[in-house]
């Protein structure tokens, strides 16, 4: 904390013409206001006057240092005036004051004592005061202070550690927390060392935070850099200058970040009741970036559910195959009792997938209050609660036709987040004393009701879409086999569990009953291609994917082979515009090949394990390979290279 960092150019007025102590105070306060140090000018001035009542802050030798600690101070700072004719400030030595510094400090900490102390050390030097009096303009005034400060506190510029603490703190975090988090940390540490600045970097990686910043370090540091692509615990930085930026700028321009963080032009982070609502820094992020960050928060939390559940379900198929149950049809995967155990445990994990996705998207947007409505919204999307059931007198049960799937869950996540933000705004009027009951009663109650009402209106729309699609398929059923196969396979890849996927799948299973097993072949292959296409791309086009995405690639081969299309959801959710069309193309190609080679499948589920009962299994494998490669190629072309 240097004087020159606290005293801004616009807060200095030389040769001021003030006749009385009151006028001097008015001028100094207005300079603080001009420099943007105050929230409430009147309150601050009152604090200054109250302090003067306890005894004049003039200390003799022409110097006065009025000061106040007050809630009304936004940023600690100084203002200064010189009064050539002097002003009577009730100094102990009776001398008129001609150099006046006014200190504005917040109510916490010893900051104002430190500022005072530092000013005194310099003002004790008569020569220094003479130079200040003679300064021609505010720039020269600041230069004199800077030079004197450098002389009195020579250790500052080269100082390795400030009272055992750090001048700068930083947090780095990327959505996946494997590579970029640590690259940014290393870049910042290296740059800081070169610049002679002490820094401590907390890495909020996938294995939990390392090198965690302590309360004391946060209190003592000058500024904090947050190079994060997902939300990190911010409430602890309340009242500190926080520079929020992306992980990639932490890696690419650490020096600029450090310079900016120490420039004093960093906005103070304000946390409201533990909620992440730093409007300043958020505004600096583009809309797209914010959406991406929320999305990734949901996807990264959902991923373990997909992998854990998916592998267990695949295991169920495997065990059932070994047990000789490949032919049982609809109960394949859980006919053998061991298979059933792992299969249903896997299903349990799967059933949380969409609620978790929506919940953590909402939590990223609205902080903790968002979690509940997000999860509930995701659950309703996954289970198809629909208003239409009520009208039909069936009570509000889940309707398989109205399951809006992962696209519905994405919608629910963002909607829940926004609803909670609006609720927070809407209840601003409530007295502070009621703050306690908002997060434990009002938000959960209203948030859940609102997201629930919204989703049961969204789901019937999905229901109509589903019915419409089914009708369309029935009509298509009369046209060419090839076209139907292509459309069905592509639909399987469209929303991975949503209305398109459901309509195609139901149509396929219904067709088995009618003996049209070639339709099921197209449906199943269409559902197998997306995870495999993505896995291929992560294996062979590494530059298009993040480290975490690549790491989960191999699991997707397994899920694809087992006809667990959901494996593709984390990828599709984080980049739907590129991933979904690529998957659709791949699936469509696979469906076409399957149809042309006359493949047919009598089993409704099971993926690779049903190939034994498939007609023309070699052709079917060929269809899978061709479709997956086609999908991977399109995906790789569409995806941008990662930095």
């Amino acid at each position: 904390m240097r004087i020159v960092d606290l005293l801004k150019n616009e807060a200095i007025q030389l040769g001021a013409n003030v006749g009385t102590k009151d006028e001097a105070i008015d001028l100094l306060v207005s300079l603080h206001d001009k420099a943007g140090n105050l929230n409430d000018v009147a309150v601050y001035k009152e604090a200054i006057l109250k302090r003067e009542e306890q005894g004049s802050t003039a200390i003799g030798e022409g110097i006065a240092v009025p000061h106040a600690k007050s809630e009304s101070v936004k940023t600690p700072g100084l203002s200064a005036i010189t009064v050539p004719t002097g002003v009577d400030y009730d100094a102990p030595d009776g001398r008129a004051s001609d150099i006046l510094f006014m200190i504005a400090a917040g109510t916490d900490g010893d900051k104002h004592l430190e500022i005072l102390s530092r000013l005194m050390v310099m003002l004790m030097d008569g020569e220094f005061c003479a130079k200040l009096r003679a300064a021609k303009d505010s720039k020269e005034f600041l230069e004199i202070i800077d030079a004197a400060e450098a002389e009195k506190y020579p250790e500052e510029k080269t100082e390795e550690k400030k009272e055992g603490g750090y001048r700068l703190l930083a947090v780095t975090a990327c959505p996946t927390g494997i590579a970029h988090t640590f690259m940014a940390a290393e870049a910042l540490e290296k740059a800081a060392k070169e610049m002679g600045v002490t820094i401590k970097v907390e890495t909020a990686g996938s294995g939990g935070s390392k090198n965690v910043l302590t309360k004391k370090e946060i209190a003592e540091c000058d500024a904090i850099i947050c190079a994060v692509d997902r939300n990190v615990e911010m409430a602890r930085f309340d009242g500190k200058p926080v520079l929020k930026t992306s992980v990639s700028s932490g890696i690419n321009k650490p020096k600029e970040l450090i310079e900016k963080a120490l420039s004093g032009n960093v906005s103070i982070y304000k946390s409201e009741g533990g909620a992440d609502t730093s409007d300043d820094s958020d505004e600096q992020e583009s809309f797209g970036r914010k959406v991406y960050k929320h999305l990734m928060n949901g996807v990264s939390h959902m991923l373990p559910f997909v992998v854990g559940g998916g592998v267990l379900i695949a295991l169920g198929f495997l065990i059932d195959t070994i047990a000789g149950n490949a032919n049982v049809g609809g109960t394949f995967g859980f006919t053998n009792s061991v298979a059933a155990i792992v299969f249903w445990i896997g299903k349990a994990a799967f059933s949380f997938m969409l609620p978790i996705l929506a919940g953590y998207i909402a939590m990223s947007i609205a902080d903790r209050p968002g979690l509940l409505p997000g999860i509930v919204g995701g659950f309703i999307a996954a289970n198809g609660f629909t208003f239409k059931s009520l009208i039909e007198g069936k009570n509000l049960v889940g309707d398989g036709n109205a399951v809006s799937g992962f696209l519905g869950a994405l919608f629910a996540g963002f909607a829940a987040g926004l609803i909670m933000l609006l609720l927070k705004k809407a209840f601003n009027w409530m007295p502070k004393a009621m703050d306690g009951i908002k997060p434990v009663f009002i938000y959960p109650l209203l948030g859940t009701v609102l997201i629930g009402l919204l989703m049961i209106w969204i789901n019937p729309v999905v229901g109509y879409l589903n019915t419409g699609l089914s009708n369309m398929l029935s009509n298509l059923g009369n046209s060419s086999k090839l076209l139907l196969s292509i459309v069905l396979a592509a639909m399987m890849a469209t929303d991975m569990g949503g209305p398109f996927n459901k309509a195609a799948y139901v149509f396929g299973t219904a067709a088995i009953a009618d003996g049209n097993t070639w339709i099921m072949a197209a449906v199943m292959i269409g559902g197998m291609v997306p995870p495999i296409a993505i896995a291929l791309s992560t294996t062979f086009a590494k530059s298009r994917w993040t480290a975490e995405e690549r790491k989960n690639g191999p699991v997707n081969y397994l899920m694809g082979l087992c006809f667990i299309t959901e494996g593709a959801i984390p990828y599709a959710a984080s980049d739907p515009i590129r991933v979904i069309p690529s998957c659709m193309v791949g699936s469509a190609v696979a469906g076409a090949v399957s149809s042309l080679l006359g493949c047919a499948c009598p089993a409704p589920h099971g993926g690779i394990f049903t190939f034994a009962v498939v007609t023309n299994p070699l052709g079917y494998i060929g269809a899978l390979v061709v479709g997956s490669v086609a999908g991977a190629l399109v995906l790789t072309l569409l995806k941008k290279k990662k930095a």
Binding site: R51, Q54, G55, T57, I59, G60, E61, V65, H67, K69, P92, D110, H112, L113, E114, L116, S117, R118, L119, M120, V121, L123, M124
Partner: protein
């Protein structure tokens, strides 16, 4: 010469108001009064010297009076510091 050790109690430490009051009180005595803080000896009759030392709450200081009326000076210094200058 008499001296005594203290721990600064009031939350805001030796900020300007206590420093002023302290300096005014000590200036009435003819003896020299110094505050030893860390390895610095501070003239307790100079507000600038005291302020520049930045004595925060919880700091260990030693007040020494030397000369005429030294006992009285130290007694008053003790009373002021131990009462936290009338602050919290």
């Amino acid at each position: 010469m008499v001296s005594k050790d203290f721990t600064v109690k009031n939350k805001m430490g030796f900020h300007m108001r206590p420093a002023q009051v302290f300096v005014n009180a000590m200036s009435k005595y003819p003896c020299d009064v110094t505050i030893k803080f860390g390895d610095r000896d501070i003239n307790a009759k100079s507000i600038m010297m005291i302020m520049s030392a930045c004595i925060k709450c919880g700091s260990e200081i030693t007040v020494t009076a030397n000369g005429e009326e030294e006992a009285a000076a130290l007694a008053q210094a003790a009373e002021m510091i131990e009462s936290g200058f009338g602050e919290e």
